[in-house]
Symmetry: D4
Subunit: 232 residues, 8 copies
């Protein structure tokens, strides 16, 4: 297959057309890829002058990249992301809020935050504001309201998304996490909570899918800031 | 079987010992019983001078009882209960709060309320105080706090129980309801929410089990008001 | 409770503060409400000069409203909505696409469309463009791309949302439907498909939740058209 | 956020208001927290003069606390709790029974017992009294009856809670455990058993949630002993 | 197919060899068969001089049989069985106990009882001896022990089978029923309870499968009474 | 959309290109379509000179078609199909076997048979050959072996497909049916049985999906008979 | 508790009354017990002169017993059992068949076999006779028929039990195993297959519960051989 | 058992009759077999002059075979297969396409490819052509169409099979993989997607069952190429 829109590595066909088509470039899912495969992918993108974001990466994968010449690849342990930027990044735009119910949800929240930042959004974090002590949320709610999109990350019962959505006029992107035990069923409980919320304006993504939430938030944020602007 | 603790009707063995053993007498689950069976059971209890509470009853069952001489049997359509009282009921004691997330949860809430009242508790209702408009809950929270036990009835996402529990020092008995659709899975979603709540002090009962919640609330309420008093 | 932000009908506490807080007013979930309850709710909103949208309504409920003086209440049988508008509606703004995989998904899609229109969005419908004949989608894709938000409604395998998301730069709100049989498990199959999509930018709502999708689309659409504009 | 009711550590916002609001102070869920995070949390509570209970802690976490100056932190391996008491604890009050079906349920039962004791309850343990040899339960039932609240911990079929509840007049807090294999589905089987019990007066908590059961038992116990007393 | 072991009716191939091979003849599952099909099957068995048992039959099916000459076909409404006997039945042998947890389980229990009786067992019924009032079971336990096999029929929590098994030395055939609501999930809860029982000697059959339990009980009963005797 | 490959009816976009692309033309899923919609679809296909197969149709839908001029539309009640043929059908080719475990599976089997016949296959039926009387299968196995593809339709335990597959060299298309009760979970049990078969050469389709199995059988049958022939 | 029927070790209450009540003595579930606990239990039984069977034991547990003086404790690695016999065992009686579908099911089958042997049954093994090569079963079926009870152990699709039951007149005890992958869901697939079998006379036990099946087989075997004999 | 169709190794009964009966010889499932067992099996087949394919093998198993004289045994790490060929293999026939949605699905795809090749099919691989960049699929679709059977391997949402099936006239064998996280539930999500596909002509196999798909593809491929040819 010879196609300018695609680089065929055999084990992977890189989608070079995605940025034109979708606004944002391709992202690499690091889990399950060998260190050699990840390196080959990073080099291919670098060759084409594209910035890269890889998620669910191990320290070993990051180390392998840096040891083989990709010294600019930045690994963040908490979010498990590797980013390789090309040139100077533009100033972040708009505003996205990332909230968590508890401390254990922070890894997923950071994946969302890093993704949104990679795609150009300005991000503000509000961690451990779950409903067991709801005054912690109310103390921050005005600041949370002043954003284009809100990511609510919560495990266990996952009620955070619904409570926030009932108080704001921005879309709330709900991320259930696998934090919990027993009848949380690795995130099924908060997933169902979020899908059934009586508060409107909640968009749900897969369990632990911080990346997907960050992408969606950045997409909406950009639409409001950029595309909305262009229209006028 | 000849046993003073039990009246054997063939299709049912009435537990006449329950009040001595458990504090409250036996309750009849009306669903699936024929009108004739229910009548026979009511007559047996009446013969022994016991008040009766039957749950999940149809108007037809109630009509059949009244048409066959049980004119004092009171049927409440919303809660689907039939009660037959013997003599003058004592004054209600203590205080139990019954809250619902929405209007559609009221049938289950009334089953809880009627049950708690049948077993002697004073009940206060707070309906439609769900989290989509959380100021409706906060407007009532002080009154809700002034109770020995709180029943929180909610379908869909079921977050009400956790939010209340985070604000009070009384046990919250959480009743998931089958209100909802799609991924509520006939009440599984709020059941899981309630089991996974990060707020402590939540006791969960079966989906739509208003009776069980009312019983538990009355039991705790009586322990606090009566048994607690006796100890001193 | 005396609170200007809430009208207490006993069985319901109407949230009069919602428009201020959330941008859009309260919506009524018609299912499970008696005709009398729905009438009382409509009259209360009318008294406060608020437009009303009710979803999951029966023809009987609609007829009851009209028979009791709410002659302006408009019932749409396909979407099962009742709308009561106050005064002249403003011109619709922006653009939202509503797509379905098949014919049987149209009822849910219309709930989304009517909701988005109620909240001010201009809506364009693309029905029966599922993947079994993917040229039907490609024939419309350019028009679908020219929108602020896309609602993708699909039952059975639910692959439509992912295929669309891979081709556009707007957020795709995915609505799984209970259309199907056997291992679709009343919509669980497309729900899982949508949650696991490898294409980014997909926001999932509950099974058959056309209302939620329409709300979210209208919310994003308004943010882009209005709020985005205000910022500049 | 500057708020006397909350200490903001960035990764966690400690709820200093909880004791006032809920009767008992905040408890730390140790699982998933780094040793450094747990240490910081303990120090913050110590600074505010608050006793702390942490659950699901590892020996490593306990060792880290002690190695960094928290020499009074007591780690219990069976229950996996760490407690830090401030000053002299008051005498335990009332009486709570903790029962298990088998030997393998003891770890969860001890979490319940330690929690109830931390919150001031006098606890009596009845271990391995499951229904396979029901005379072991009957030999202890009179003593079990003489308590304000009963915690029944059982895995596999989980029938213990129902059998006890049928014999006593105190609330039974049922804790399903993940003990078992095959169709116990990590505790789902006893969870369902307990939710469906035909004996009334059963309050269910999450699978393996000994902490939640102990909290609830202590809460009810205190209400009966203290609050009940105050009322008169 | 011409085969003495099989009568081919096109829509069904009657297994005429089963009695030789399995000890008991073929049984007809009435549900889903048209009245005409059932009639044709009964006539074919009658032609071959075989007694027939059909389960899950409607009154309409029974009426159709009798209206078309099968006047000896006996329909029992509670158990929904139709039996057609050929000649004089032999005296029942051995002893099988059939127990239920509650009144609503009787329909399934009667299917078991009628089946066991059809296959020659002497049956003794013990209904409504569930664990909520466990003295009702203990009052009958000696009589239950004096049997070759015990069928325990229970819905909701389904603990009856385990409690009985812990007290006897005969095999207990456990039949979960779909009696219950909410988290009983149409019989899944008692099914899991029975599969996970800590008491040994429990054989589980499908939900509501009274027939299968009665068959198994009759099979074991006959082995003990007849085959066991022959061996000596 | 003006596209020769598609007829746009608004509520449906008929795929006129399917036969060229896929070998067989489009098929209509009758369930959930109004009588008027079905009529419009049949007329459109008739206008284009295409034969039509519709599945899951009601007698009312069939009657409506015939009453509005489509007198050649043939409705089969057992399989719930409607077929409209154009001109003389070619002789059936090859050989497909359709087997059922029991009588209640025949409706699904007939949907498969009618579909395979509509698409040109010669079909041979083997009904009620389930494993409870396995000699019924062995009596027919040689004839079953002499086919290009075998459809095995079975509910309850669904073991038929595996037993057949272990005896033949043709692909076995396994169709689980919702026939059964209790733990068959509307066809989940046989679906899992078929997916997990230790015999190789089993292709599984959705529960009750007789159409899909018939289609696949006809497709394989035609490939062997026609396409295979063309290659030489 | 001082009770001759029970030895109270604190962490366990040994049921010394079980043999009188149930025919067979108590069995120890080794999983989850510490080496010290197991040793203490073995010593207690030895002190009372009782033979012991422990299941799900590790080599380490066995080694610990032997290293602390229980040199007669016999550990079998395949079945993971430890047995300690007291005096000379009586001759095995009757006949039990243990069959497996495949090689991987042998561990569970051996647990059944060892248990049945411990409780006095004569056992005959038939391994790897699954339905993928059904002639392997037919070559052994006559020998399998000559038994009082048959244990059928199978994973994956689990069809073995039904095929055997259709060919014999003895009860078949079906043991689903967790052997398999994907949609076998750790044994759920064969469990459902066995519960839904159309062949009568199947008794199902928990997934991987070889012990339970062996116990049940020994119990039925003994009833036929001994109790049946006594009656005459 | 002495039977020319079976070699009895005690722990396994090798099916020597399978090639005659089924067209292809027996295949060994390596998982769960000891190295010694696998060696014994390979030697037995070698003794009978049969080629062997073993799946799900570890490098240790392969090493053990080679170390004990089976030096011709070929281990492929990606597909985890071991093959032992006897003599010269015939030229591959026909054409089978193996496609994957992503890179992580390749291990399963290679199991399918190696199996199809072992059974004589010519295989063409198309990896990483999932729907997130659907132009990658379209660039290869003509080549994919020129095959007798297509294996579509996909995890996460699993939409690949349906999209391909909508474009070709060959049967598509769909293999869901356990690739993914959260709500993919170890492959349940793509399994359901594939079972519910609206595109006809899809045959589904178990999660991660590359072997089954390769077998089925080879079987259909051979039928078309060989058996089809013989018929003429």
């Amino acid at each position: 297959m010879t196609d300018a829109r695609c680089e065929d590595l055999g084990f992977a066909k890189l989608d070079l057309d995605r940025e034109r088509r979708r606004g944002f470039g391709e992202v690499i899912f690091g889990a399950g890829k060998t260190e050699a495969q990840l390196l080959e992918i990073f080099r291919a993108f670098q060759k084409h002058g594209r910035a890269v974001l890889a998620t669910r990466c191990t320290p070993q994968q990051a180390e392998h990249l840096r040891a083989h010449g990709l010294t600019d690849a930045v690994h963040d342990e908490v979010s498990r992301t590797i980013t390789l930027r090309i040139g100077v990044s533009p100033d972040p735009i708009g505003r996205v809020a990332i909230c968590t119910g508890g401390t254990a949800d922070i890894a997923v929240a950071e994946e969302a935050a890093r993704t949104a930042e990679f795609f150009g959004a300005s991000v503000r974090r509000f961690y451990d504001v779950g409903i067991a002590g709801i005054h912690r949320l109310f103390a921050n709610i005005e600041e949370i309201r002043q954003t284009n999109a809100i990511v609510a990350v919560a495990g266990m019962e996952g009620a955070l998304a619904g409570v926030i959505a009932g108080l704001v006029d921005s879309p709330v992107i709900a991320v259930p996490t696998s934090v919990g035990y027993g009848a949380s069923f690795q995130g099924v409980a908060p997933l169902l909570t979020m899908l059934n919320s009586c508060a409107e304006g909640i968009a749900v993504v897969n369990i632990d899918n911080g990346f997907g939430a960050g992408y969606l938030a950045a997409q909406i944020n950009r639409k409001i800031e950029k595309i909305g602007a262009e229209k006028r």
